[in-house]
C-alpha cells in the first residue's frame, strides 16, 4: 500500500500527522510529506483515516479502501 500527498492541494492543516504520525511529517513550510513508503504493515487503517481526514482532499491511499455501507464519509 502507498500514500501520496498532492502538494498543489496541501495547505498544511497537519491533521494527517495526528491521524497517522508514522506515515506523515511536515516539511519546513508546514506541508505534509510522506515518511513511510510503502505503508508498513498494520497501518492501512491509519492511512485511510489520514486520507479521509484531509480537509483539502490532498491525500490518496492506494489501493482504494474497500466500499463500506452505513457510514458517512468525511
Amino acid at each position: 500500500m502507498r500514500v501520496t500527498v498532492d502538494q498543489s492541494r496541501c495547505q498544511g492543516h497537519a491533521l494527517c500527522t495526528m491521524h497517522a504520525p508514522e506515515l506523515f511529517d511536515l516539511d519546513g513550510e508546514g506541508h505534509a510529506v510522506v515518511v513511510a513508503d510503502p505503508v508498513p504493515g498494520g497501518l492501512d487503517q491509519a492511512a485511510y483515516d489520514a486520507e479521509a481526514g484531509c480537509p483539502e482532499e490532498a491525500i490518496t491511499a492506494e489501493p482504494r479502501r474497500p466500499a463500506r455501507t452505513g457510514q458517512a464519509r468525511s
Binding site: Q11, E29, Y48, A50, A72, S74
Partner: protein, 400 residues
C-alpha cells in the same frame, strides 16, 4: 463588508437569520444551512455552506480573498497575507509558514504552561472565577507579546485594540467601521514606533527580530510590510485563541462525564481539541470574492460577487460528518475546517493548537472539577468570533 437588514442592524452571518438560530447552540442552524439548496443571505449575498462545496469553491483560482478594494478587519491597506492572492500571497506565505510550524513554535511550551499557571494562581484559592476575564482573555495576548518580543507592559494596548476591531462599538455599520479604522490607525502607529526602536537595537531571536533579518527574493522586508504582517498577526492571534479557549472550557464545564475522560487521560487532548474545534467552529465564516463567472457543483457564481463561506456550517454538514451535532472524541477521521481551508487557511493554527492544548491541560490538572456557577449561565457571542464572553465557574479549592 457587513450588510444591513431592513431595520438597519448589521447582518453578520446567514445562520443568524434562521428560526433555528440559538446563540448557545448555533450548530443546529449551521447544519440546516449546510444541507440547504444554494443558500443566500437576505441581502442577496451568496452563501457557501456545504462541506464539499466549500472545498471545491476555495480550490477555484477565480476565488480570491479580496476584490482589491475591500480589506479585512479595518485595515487601511491589504493585510499580509490575508488580503493578498496568487503569487504575492504565495511569496509571503513562503516566508511566514516556516515561522509557524509545530517545530518552530514548540519552544513556547514552557512559556505557555508558566503563563497559564500564573493566571490560575490568581484565582485558584477563590473557588470561583470568570474564566473569560481571568484566563481566556489575557493568556493569548501575553503569549503573543512574548512571541513578537514586545514588553508585557504593553498588554493593555493590545487588549484594547483587539476588542475594538473584533467587537466594534457603534449603532450603525458606518459608526462601527469608523471605530474599527480609528483603532487600526492607533495600532499601525504603535507598531511603526516599535519597529523604529527595534531597528536601532541589536537583532533578537523573537518574531520581530526574524522579520527584520529575513529576506524575501533577496530583499529585506520594508517597515511597511512588517507593520502590515504584524497588524494581521495581532488581529488573528489574539481574539481567536481567546474565543476558542473560552468555548472549550465552557463545553467542559457543562459536560462533566466527558471532562473526566480527558482528566484521566490528557494524552487524548489533541484529538479532543480537533473535535471541539469542529463542533464549536469559533471562527464561523470568511468572505471571498469571485473574479470571473464560475460554476461550482452546478451552482453559478457571477463575476464580482462577494461570497460568505461558512466554515461552521461545513463542520456541521451531516453529509460529511456522521451525527455532526454530537461531540465524538473517537471520531475516526475528522476533516474539519475550523481553521478555514484553501490557500488562506489559518497561518497560526499550529500555535493555536499548542496554546489550546497546554492551557486546557494545565487548567484541568489544577482544577479538574468545575461547573457553571449556580444561578448563572454561560453567555455566548457569535458576532465576529464565537466566544463565551461570560464564563462564571465554581470549583472546590485544593487544600495543601
Amino acid at each position: 463588508m457587513s450588510a444591513e437588514t431592513e431595520s438597519g442592524a448589521p447582518v453578520f452571518c446567514a445562520a443568524h437569520m434562521l428560526d433555528s438560530w440559538d446563540e448557545r447552540h448555533p450548530q443546529v442552524a449551521f447544519a440546516e444551512l449546510a444541507t440547504a439548496d444554494a443558500p443566500v443571505r437576505p441581502d442577496g449575498t451568496l452563501v457557501v455552506a456545504a462541506r464539499q462545496e466549500v472545498t471545491e469553491f476555495l480550490r477555484h483560482p477565480a476565488v480570491r480573498a479580496t476584490d482589491g478594494v475591500h480589506f479585512n478587519l479595518g485595515g487601511k491597506r491589504p493585510l499580509i497575507p490575508l488580503d493578498l492572492d496568487g503569487d504575492a500571497h504565495r511569496k509571503y506565505r513562503g516566508l511566514l509558514d516556516p515561522l509557524f510550524t509545530p517545530k518552530r513554535v514548540a519552544w513556547l511550551e514552557p512559556v505557555i504552561r508558566a503563563r497559564t499557571n500564573a493566571l490560575i494562581d490568581a484565582f485558584a484559592d477563590a473557588g470561583s472565577a470568570d474564566l473569560m476575564a481571568s484566563l481566556c482573555g489575557p493568556l493569548p495576548t501575553y503569549l503573543f507579546i512574548e512571541l513578537l518580543g514586545l514588553p508585557a507592559t504593553d498588554l493593555p494596548v493590545f487588549l484594547e485594540f483587539k476588542e475594538a476591531v473584533v467587537r466594534p462599538v457603534g449603532a450603525t455599520v458606518e459608526e462601527q467601521q469608523a471605530n474599527m479604522r480609528a483603532a487600526g490607525d492607533r495600532m499601525y502607529d504603535y507598531l511603526t514606533t516599535v519597529l523604529t526602536q527595534r531597528r536601532a537595537e541589536p537583532p533578537r531571536e523573537d518574531l520581530i527580530g526574524g522579520f527584520l533579518t529575513t529576506e524575501l527574493d533577496g530583499e529585506r522586508l520594508t517597515d511597511q510590510e512588517i507593520v502590515d504582517i504584524c497588524y494581521l498577526l495581532v488581529i488573528a492571534g489574539l481574539d481567536t485563541v481567546t474565543s476558542s479557549l473560552s468555548c472549550l472550557l465552557a463545553w467542559f464545564a457543562e459536560h462533566p462525564d466527558e471532562r473526566r475522560q480527558v482528566v484521566a487521560d490528557p494524552g487524548r487532548l489533541p484529538r479532543v481539541i480537533e473535535e471541539l474545534m469542529r463542533f464549536e467552529s469559533p471562527v464561523p465564516l470568511g468572505h471571498r470574492w469571485v473574479t470571473e463567472d464560475i460554476d461550482i457543483r452546478g451552482r453559478h457564481f457571477p463575476a464580482g460577487s462577494m461570497v460568505e463561506v461558512l466554515w461552521a456550517a461545513a463542520n456541521a454538514d451531516p453529509n460529511a460528518f456522521e451525527d455532526p451535532l454530537t461531540v465524538d472524541f473517537a471520531r475516526p477521521h475528522n476533516a474539519h475546517i475550523g481553521f478555514a481551508a484553501g490557500p488562506h487557511r489559518c497561518l497560526g493554527s499550529n500555535l493555536a493548537r499548542l496554546e489550546l492544548r497546554l492551557a486546557v491541560e494545565e487548567f484541568l490538572r489544577r482544577i479538574p472539577d468545575f461547573e457553571i456557577t449556580t444561578g448563572e449561565q454561560v453567555v455566548y457571542t457569535n458576532y465576529g468570533v464565537r466566544a463565551a464572553i461570560r464564563l462564571p465557574v465554581t470549583f472546590p479549592v485544593a487544600r495543601g
